[in-house]
């Protein structure tokens, strides 16, 4: 089985953005565990967001959930490149909506409830948005190809 050339490019781009998001979320998660409440820095923003009540979901730091999400996208892309299964990639494209929705919720929380912006969190939101955009392209292509064959 051969990979569709365009899908291969999308998959690689998706993996690049997922690596950026993974690095971002990993940094926040490590910061949380080694010194999350050690000091409120003078510049503010990040410490307010990362120590807010919204920084955890069922006791798990949101940053750690981000690590798992980006890890799963990277794992999914590698599995696709390895298996060359287009159907799997189509499902992975749907899965990226989870990261996008979660990021949008967190951006709304920062702007309207926490009223502070954490640059790392915004960086992660940008990564997940780009990943979702790429996933959406896969979805669109899949639908147009389906129409051709119908």
């Amino acid at each position: 089985m051969h990979l569709l050339k365009q899908n291969k490019t999308i998959a690689i781009l998706m993996m690049v953005f997922a690596f950026v998001g993974f690095a971002d979320a990993a940094y926040l998660a490590v910061e949380h565990y080694i010194g999350g409440t050690v000091l409120c820095g003078l510049t503010g923003g990040c410490d307010i967001v990362t120590t807010s009540v919204y920084s955890k979901l069922f006791g798990v730091p949101v940053a750690l959930l981000g690590v798992f999400y980006y890890f799963s996208v990277i794992f999914g892309v590698v599995a696709y490149l390895d298996s060359k299964d287009e159907r799997f990639f189509f499902w992975l494209a749907h899965y990226t909506a989870i990261g996008f929705i979660a990021s949008m919720v967190f951006v709304v929380l920062q702007v309207f409830l926490i009223k502070s912006i954490c640059v790392y969190c915004m960086g992660s939101a940008l990564s997940s948005t780009l990943i979702y955009y790429l996933g959406h392209q896969v979805h669109k292509k899949h639908r147009s190809m389906k129409k051709i064959y119908e």
Partner: protein
């Protein structure tokens, strides 16, 4: 081994190595971002009778804390410091100074409330109630009525408390504390000095205890 199997192994191992490097890099960056003790000056404003002191005023070991009532990290340290003030009340002199950070809107009103309470001899009582009940005031646009409520609980003279909260003299005390923190180049709050030397924030009660025990041993 055929090329396709080698390619697959290379792909998976490569990804695992990259992920591992990212995690190690994140850990190194996070550790580097911890406050740098070398950039902080020694305590340049000596402890005086104007300071808020708890414990033994004649003790040979002094712990100075610069804090902000709205800072989550200061709230996290509050029970730990409270425990130390009980356990070392005869051996250590504890000093609290204000360092209200610009991003915490209610840090200044709460600092002013403790100074206004101090004028009626109840600084530490107001300090404790503000930390204990931070959830009641931290998200308010104007925490004044809640702070006045605490003053009532402490049986303070309310008109005097309100007038002191708004006085220039009270504001100057908070501003002077903040100016000394800025002059010491403190990276944030809470920041601690033991006998005039800045210490990296201890992670646990035991770590803090070890630092104080060590300082006490050096005075013998």
């Amino acid at each position: 081994m055929n090329t396709s199997i080698l390619k697959r192994i290379f792909l998976w191992v490569g990804i695992v190595v990259i992920l591992g490097l990212i995690v190690v890099g994140a850990a190194i960056l996070a550790i580097k971002n911890q406050p740098d003790a070398s950039s902080v000056s020694p305590l340049n404003t000596p402890v005086s009778s104007a300071d808020h002191i708890l414990g033994n005023p004649e003790a040979k070991v002094t712990l100075v804390e610069y804090a902000d009532f709205e800072c989550p990290a200061c709230e996290a340290y509050y029970p730990l410091i409270k425990q130390l003030t009980t356990d070392y009340k005869d051996k250590v002199r504890f000093v609290y100074r204000h360092f209200p950070l610009p991003q915490h809107a209610n840090a200044i009103p709460t600092a002013l409330a403790t100074e206004a309470a101090s004028n009626q001899g109840k600084f530490w009582e107001m300090h404790d109630i503000i930390f204990d009940k931070h959830e009641e005031w931290q998200d308010l646009k104007d925490p004044t009525s809640v702070l006045v409520g605490y003053a009532k609980q402490l049986n303070l003279d309310i008109p005097r408390f309100q007038s002191d909260m708004n006085s220039g003299a009270t504001k100057k005390i908070v501003d002077d504390d903040k100016a000394s923190a800025v002059a010491e180049n403190l990276p944030g709050t809470p920041s601690f000095f033991v006998n005039g030397t800045y210490i990296k924030n201890p992670q646990t009660y035991q770590d803090f205890k070890a630092i104080l025990d060590n300082a006490l041993a050096q005075t013998k």
